[in-house]
């Protein structure tokens, strides 16, 4: 009895092991939704409803944005005054020579304010056809030198404006060397309008990229080749905001750079007289120089393009939604209609 009992139990054990064995050793792939490629998924299909609502959604979002942007842009008052030609004496034949010859090149301009301009009014200079994004130009600077007095000799990237007579130029490189040097002063009704030139650069630039212990030295000391503005060598670079602004190279050959802020409101028909020093040479490459006074809105300066683009796209989408709706209404198609299957379209097609 005992023995048969153990035998049967051992047999049972063996049996269960047997039945488990093939399962354990089976090469059957284990089920998971991942490996069987059955993950839950949404399967977007371009159904008419979907297409039309997508188009409508875009137009519903875009048209208001377009309108708002357009309003914002219209709110901005912008005065642009091109002066590069007018500030050259009429009888000058060689403009380049004129601009390169030292001397007083002051020039008076008067600007009429068309609309009320609320402060702050930003003063920009705009250059055209000036390739600040040229590779040689962009690379010609030494960030280490600008930031840290101890790396003053790090001028390898600055050639040919790295040293003068063996002395290191700080700040070195073509960008700094070609610093814009026209100056503007404004007056209204013969009272001086102050231009605030503080904080016209990015804070991070002032604090981290331009050192407060770095002072200009040997800058613009080369007389043979004339560059741009010179710098006051007693002010550290971190406070030379014109330089900091200039050193932020522009993206495209037409660009504006911030000159300063006028922090009083200007009334309509105010006549602003500008006294400017026309020093910067844009004549040799046919560049334009413009003085820009502009207010800002929540969107920035004056540019209708964005609003128009939004309105166009929104309108286009609305139009497309309309077209598709019409198509579906006029020519509804039963899906799965066999006549649309290509082999039925031309049954005897050969």
């Amino acid at each position: 009895m005992m023995s048969s009992n153990t035998a049967s139990s051992s047999a049972a054990v063996a049996g269960s092991a047997d039945s488990a064995a093939p399962r354990r050793n089976s090469k059957k792939p284990k089920y998971s939704r991942f490996t069987q490629q059955e993950l839950p998924a949404c399967k977007p299909i371009l159904t008419p409803r979907w297409v039309i609502s997508a188009f409508l959604l875009v137009s519903v979002v875009f048209i208001p944005i377009g309108v708002a942007s357009l309003f914002a842009s219209r709110d901005v008052v912008e005065i642009v005054d091109r002066y590069d030609n007018d500030c050259i004496p009429d009888n000058t034949t060689d403009k380049v020579n004129y601009i390169q010859t030292p001397g007083d090149k002051s020039c008076n301009r008067s600007i009429t304010v068309p609309k009320r301009m609320k402060q702050p009014i930003y003063v920009y200079y705009q250059l055209d056809n000036f390739y600040q994004n040229h590779r040689r130009y962009v690379k010609s600077r030494s960030d280490a030198q600008l930031r840290d007095n101890s790396s003053a000799s790090d001028t390898s990237s600055c050639k040919p404006e790295d040293t003068y007579n063996g002395k290191i130029i700080v700040p070195c490189g073509l960008i700094a060397w070609s610093l814009f040097n026209d100056t503007y002063s404004f007056s209204r009704n013969s009272s001086q309008l102050n231009v605030n030139k503080k904080d016209i650069s990015w804070k991070s630039d002032r604090e981290h990229k331009f050192g407060s212990d770095v002072y200009p030295s040997n800058f613009q000391s080369n007389d043979t080749v004339i560059g741009g503005a010179s710098l006051n060598s007693s002010i550290p670079l971190s406070q030379q905001e014109d330089l900091i602004v200039w050193m932020r190279t522009a993206a495209l050959p037409t660009f504006r750079k911030l000159y300063g802020r006028i922090e009083v409101d200007l009334e309509p028909n105010d006549v602003i007289s500008v006294t400017l020093q026309n020093n910067y040479n844009t004549y040799s490459f046919n560049g334009k120089k413009k003085l820009v006074l502009s207010t800002t809105s929540w969107l920035g300066g004056k540019n209708d393009f964005l609003g128009i683009a939004y309105l166009t796209v929104g309108g286009l989408c609305f139009f497309l939604a309309l077209v598709f709706t019409l198509v579906y209404l006029v020519k509804p198609r039963r899906l799965g209609d066999p006549s649309y299957l290509s082999w039925n379209r031309n049954p005897g097609g050969h």
């Binding site: 059957k28 380049v96 920035g300």
Partner: protein
């Protein structure tokens, strides 16, 4: 089983295998021993012999790895840089250290290192796996004679040339051995060569007489011999050598060679001398790397890369042209134009005095800068995707076979997408369409037909006729009926007839004939019965499955073949006199073996009553001619039955016998043994002739019908594949009738199809054949005529609905493949819906495959299971091996291995379609995203006087391909599904997208490229137009180089990722994660990178946090640009799905709207297929 083995030992094999002569003979090759190519000298049992040491043959260490630890780095690097794109990137990386580089060298090097490193890691892991297998093989144990004059276990790798090795039952041979002796008397042994040639039957090897006595360990103390033989080569079926022993020389042949890779079976142990070790073994010499296959898509992709390279060169050239002009203008007549660039004091790269040189250098710079047009991560991404796709194939539960416990295996991941473009399947028959398991289903004895079972073919025919399949009566449940009768169902036996089963045959009036019939089945064979110790059941080890089926049938009826000894066969059968089962011995005198020319087999036995009997079975074509005048009493009925059986797709054997008288036998035997022992070359022919003399005047008993079982689901699968527009060619070694039958069974041929048969089996040809050399001409002419007739037949019918089936036999095929007619043959063949080539040899199979591939230019898939299919599998674009019972050879040569033919449906329609779609989409998208990005750089250049200044920070750019855009595209490549798997199968026409290559056609590729181009224009123009000049924030700050870069880049990242989102059909959380994650990662990267110290982040320092993020304009521009870039594609797709929906659009929408499928008539699809093929052929010919 000591009992069994001893019994087998007593068999005199020499007698049994009467046509095989083991007598060693000198072949012409033996004269060459010692000369070039035959210089190997082996000192048996003396590997330390001075001369042997001098010869210094390679050891038995085997390494199949591609790399070693030492050469991994250089070799795999070399492999990597064989790709054009990678070389380009390497050159760029090298040049990036020069001042020519538009960006920092590290930023170009990093992605290259990531990409190359990942690929190399993949190679390394693969190689490591191979290495582990090698280690396992090298450290297997084998007994080698040596230490202390005994056999002791040694690792395989330590076996040396000349070592005496003892291999035990079921062990693999560690090297190529010369068989010295075995546990069997006479030094024979059985060998299974499945790993070498895929054949499952056992092969007999035979030691030389002089060494066969060495069957004990103690003999080897004294044994010394020298073997001289051929040098290592790859010929598995030939071996030439001599053994010098005791001062005499004995010839060695392949009969004495035990090959590495084969296995010892049914023999307790053997002793052998290692002669080829390690890489010198024949199996290793054979291990050539299979031809590496590349998919069509990848080949096309190369072309696209070249196209992009040309674009790159072109725009770089245009750029440098403008640059040269601009630079030249900078300094003229001593005047500086752009004075701020100091053109008077400059380097050669910007020198206005040498503008052409500067332009040339700029050209190099531009080549680097616009390198983003070439997707650096494309190759690695595709590889990752393909590996993951193969994992999905391997893991698919729907392609797992319970019976054999085998899942599908993608042995190479190169061809996944090719699976979605298969045009023609070339299939083997036996083992692929059929199971290669024979079932005895019917027989005709004495003019009466027995057997009520219904074959698959009959069922298919009834089904097609529209009749209800009487399954409950005779069909599947017939099997269960059997089970009731005999207690359980028997493998290989599906015969059911109450008239003769369970001993009922005795009651039949012609019981004598029935008895003789089954006696023949039980005696006339070369199988060996093997008794299962536990169950006591007898299994038969037969050379062919047919034979086993006969024996089983005989056993089930009551004629059990119990024992086979050297001279006798004993049956357990019914004594008709007393009605008891008893053992009866038959003295087996002669066996006249089966071979393909004889097509019959006979044995001569003496029964208990001392009567001499010749029992014979054979093909109907040869047997009916050998009947005696009196033996034809029921010839016509039998012939009728045979015809019916043949129609039902059964294999037929005719059974006959003859009583011999003593004297006739004696005189014949003398003649026969003389013929057998003759040493002339015509020995076999002579013996055949003599045998022929006695196999005459037979008396017909009846015929057997064996069903070659179709694999499960084959007809349905073939039907679906046909709907998918895939043509199926069957290449089989069977004869025409069988092939046609199988064709009907698996719905390759239908009643309503017209058959075009091309054959040389006609009287005129036979007549001309007899006239010798005129044969070729006449046959050729005949083939040409038949092809011409077939063509005119097809052309004359106007209706496209009629389908054609072409059936051609091997001989005709040989002529048809000849140069001048192969064109017209293929023209005919491609117009037919089905092509069946019967009686084709393995070489012909490969040839047909190659020609189909070449002539039609379509993608071919070959599927087969045996060693004879290897050529075909390697020749085809895709080789699919059936990992069934027939060994591993086909699987080893295949690209994909599946367990059952029916899995092909899922492999092609589901995985193939998906993979094709995914890879095609992925590549298109890759080019899209890189063109979109690369061209923004170009537009910026155009506004920077082509000076080579990139629009973005270096690291933004180098991360573009690696981080911001690569993961979503991989997710697309791995997971995207246009429609779900069941729908892929339900609507097979979806597969046409791949066959017609719609998703990777040039219009589509160029369309995507154009879309990328458009995107770049939209991004650049909209961002610059809306941001440049005016202040972009309330505080009056203007956009500079940094802000524009960030904005444009943001737009690019958004645009390409959203483009991906709207082109995806299948959105899982993984897609969401990758797509939105990539965009989010860009912002995260921007923040983190911006917080790094300015010397590292340079222009990105606080660019996002301080400058862009607070600007409303920045966000509004992003929104505008992204929507604008998506609009063209979205509108196009909306338009397309409405007016010109693609196949998957239709299915998706049908599914979406829940409409019932229209009554799907498959016919048009096949017509379409035909039309398509015709079109391609016409293009080719014109």
């Amino acid at each position: 089983m000591p009992e069994g083995s001893r019994q087998r030992m007593r068999i005199n094999f020499r007698k049994l295998y009467s046509f095989i002569c083991f007598r060693p003979i000198y072949e012409p090759g033996h004269a060459q021993i010692g000369q070039k190519g035959y210089s190997r000298v082996v000192y048996c049992n003396d590997p330390d012999h001075l001369e042997a040491v001098k010869l210094n043959y390679r050891g038995n260490y085997v390494s199949t790895t591609k790399y070693s630890a030492a050469n991994f780095i250089p070799k795999s690097l070399f492999e990597q840089f064989r790709r054009v794109a990678n070389i380009y990137f390497l050159v760029v990386a090298c040049v990036s250290f020069s001042p020519l580089a538009p960006y920092s060298s590290l930023s170009i090097l990093a992605p290259l290192i990531v990409v190359i490193g990942a690929t190399m890691a993949k190679e390394g892991v693969e190689d490591w796996r191979r290495r582990k297998q090698d280690i396992e093989a090298n450290n297997r144990k084998v007994k080698v004679y040596g230490c202390n004059n005994t056999f002791c276990e040694t690792n395989w790798k330590k076996v040396r040339v000349g070592d005496i090795v003892k291999v035990c039952k079921d062990e693999y041979f560690p090297a190529d051995l010369v068989l010295l002796s075995s546990s069997h008397e006479g030094g024979v042994c059985y060998v299974e060569t499945m790993n070498l040639d895929g054949e499952t039957n056992l092969k007999l090897k035979h030691a030389l007489d002089v060494t066969s006595h060495l069957h004990d360990e103690k003999f080897f103390e004294e044994f010394r011999a020298v073997i001289k033989c051929e040098d290592p080569n790859e010929k598995l079926y030939s071996f030439i050598g001599t053994l010098s022993y005791d001062g005499k020389e004995y010839p060695l042949s392949i009969q004495q060679l035990l090959l590495r890779g084969s296995k010892l079976k049914n023999t307790e142990y053997v002793f052998g001398c290692a002669i080829f070790t390690g890489h010198d073994t024949k199996v290793m010499q054979n291990a050539t790397h299979p031809p590496s296959k590349r998919s069509k898509i990848e080949k096309k992709m190369d072309k696209i890369i070249y196209l992009l390279f040309s674009t790159l060169v072109l725009i770089a050239f245009v750029g440098s042209l403008f640059f040269g002009i601009e630079t030249k203008k900078d300094f003229s007549d001593g005047k500086l134009r752009r004075w701020y660039l100091r053109p008077d004091d400059t380097t050669v790269f910007y020198d206005p005095k040498r503008p052409s040189l500067s332009a040339f250098f700029h050209f190099l710079t531009a080549l680097m800068l616009y390198g983003y047009l070439i997707p650096i991560s494309l190759y690695i991404s595709i590889e990752i995707v393909k590996v993951l796709q193969s994992i999905f194939i391997n893991q698919d539960q729907h392609m797992y076979d319970e019976e054999t416990d085998k899942p599908a295996r993608a042995r190479t991941s190169n061809l996944n997408e090719e699976l979605g473009q298969v045009d023609i399947i070339l299939s083997d028959k036996t083992g692929t369409l059929t199971c290669n398991s024979m079932e005895f289903v019917k027989c005709s004895i004495a003019g009466t037909a027995y057997g009520r079972g219904m074959t698959e073919v009959e069922r298919a025919v009834t089904r097609r006729r529209g009749d209800a399949v009487p399954e409950s009566v005779d069909g599947v449940q017939g099997l269960e009926g059997d089970a009731v009768d005999s207690g359980k169902s028997v493998r290989g036996f599906n015969f059911r007839d109450e008239r003769i089963m369970n001993g009922q045959w005795v009651k039949r009036c012609d019981s004598k004939i029935i008895q003789k019939f089954f006696q023949v089945l039980a005696i006339c064979h070369t199988a060996i019965p093997e008794e299962n110790e536990q169950s006591g059941e007898i299994m038969y080890e037969a050379e062919s499955p047919d034979e086993a089926a006969f024996l089983i049938a005989a056993k089930e009826i009551g004629f059990k073949c119990k024992r086979v000894t050297q001279t006798s066969i004993s049956l357990c059968e019914l004594d008709t006199e007393n009605g008891k089962m008893e053992d009866r011995d038959y003295e087996r005198l002669q066996v006249l073996e089966f071979n393909t020319s004889r097509k019959r087999m006979s044995v001569i036995v003496r029964n208990k009553e001392k009567k001499l009997l010749l029992l014979s079975k054979g093909a109907d074509s040869v047997m009916f001619g050998r009947l005696s005048k009196d033996g034809r009493s029921f010839e016509s009925q039998t012939k009728d039955h045979i015809k019916k059986y043949a129609e039902a797709g059964l294999r037929i054997m005719v059974i006959a016998y003859r009583e011999l008288d003593e004297e006739e036998y004696k005189s014949w035997e003398k003649e026969f043994s003389k013929a057998k022992t003759s040493v002339t070359a015509e020995r076999d022919e002579l013996a055949e002739k003599v045998a022929d003399k006695i196999e005459r005047n037979l008396t017909l008993l009846g015929a057997t019908a064996v069903e070659d079982k179709l694999q499960k689901g084959v007809p349905e699968c073939i039907d679906t594949l046909a709907q998918a527009g895939i043509g199926l060619w069957v290449l089989t070694g069977d004869k025409m009738e069988t092939a046609i039958n199988i064709g009907y069974a698996c719905s390759l041929l239908r009643e309503d199809m017209k058959q075009i048969v091309i054959t040389l089996d006609s009287p005129d040809i036979a007549a001309s054949e007899n006239q010798g050399d005129r044969e070729a001409k006449a046959s050729l002419e005949s083939i040409r005529k038949q092809i011409g007739e077939g063509m005119s037949q097809i052309n004359s019918t106007k209706e496209s609905d009629i389908m054609y089936g072409l059936i051609i036999d091997g001989k005709s095929l040989e002529f048809s493949l000849k140069k001048d007619i192969d064109k017209s043959f293929f023209e005919l063949a491609t117009k037919c819906n089905t092509v069946i080539c019967c009686r084709s040899s393995p070489k012909q199979k490969a040839l047909v495959t190659r020609l189909v591939k070449r002539e039609t230019g379509n993608t071919t898939l070959a599927i087969g299971d045996g060693a004879n299919d290897v050529g075909m599998l390697q020749e085809a674009d895709i080789g699919v091996g059936i990992s069934g019972v027939e060994g591993m050879q086909a699987v080893m040569a295949s690209d994909f291995a599946i367990a059952q033919f029916r899995f092909l449906e899922r492999l092609l329609l589901v995985h193939g379609h998906w993979c094709y779609r995914r890879i095609a989409m992925m590549i298109c998208y890759f080019f899209y995203k890189n063109i979109a990005f690369g061209f923004t750089l170009f537009w910026f250049e155009a506004h920077a006087s082509f000076s080579g200044q990139p629009a973005y920070n270096d690291w933004y750019m180098s991360f573009y391909n690696v981080f911001f855009t690569s993961l979503p595209v991989i997710a697309l490549g791995v997971f995207d599904q246009d429609v779900s798997a069941p729908l892929c199968v339900k609507y097979p026409f979806l597969y046409l997208e791949g066959v017609e290559n719609i998703l990777f056609s040039w219009p589509r590729i160029l369309g995507w490229m154009f879309n990328g181009f458009l995107t770049s224009i939209i991004i650049f123009s909209l961002t610059t137009k809306s941001m440049i000049k005016q202040a972009f924030r309330r505080d009056g700050q203007v956009v500079d180089y940094e802000v524009l870069g960030v904005t444009m880049y943001t737009c690019v990242v958004w645009a390409v990722n959203c483009q991906m989102a709207i082109s995806i059909n299948y959105f899982t959380w993984i897609h969401h994660f990758f797509i939105w994650g990539s965009i989010a990662f860009w912002y995260k990267f921007l923040v983190i990178y911006g917080y790094l110290p300015p010397e590292m982040s340079t222009t990105a320092y606080r660019a996002f946090v301080e400058e862009c993020a607070p600007s409303v304009l920045y966000w509004l521009v992003t929104l505008l640009v992204v929507i604008c870039t998506l609009l063209p594609y979205f509108s196009f797709r909306a338009f397309q799905t409405r007016f010109y929906p693609m196949y998957h659009d239709r299915i998706q929408r049908k599914q979406y709207e829940g409409l019932e499928a229209e009554n799907s008539d498959e016919l048009p699809r096949q017509v379409r297929k035909k039309r398509h093929l015709r079109k391609t052929l016409m293009q080719r010919n014109s």
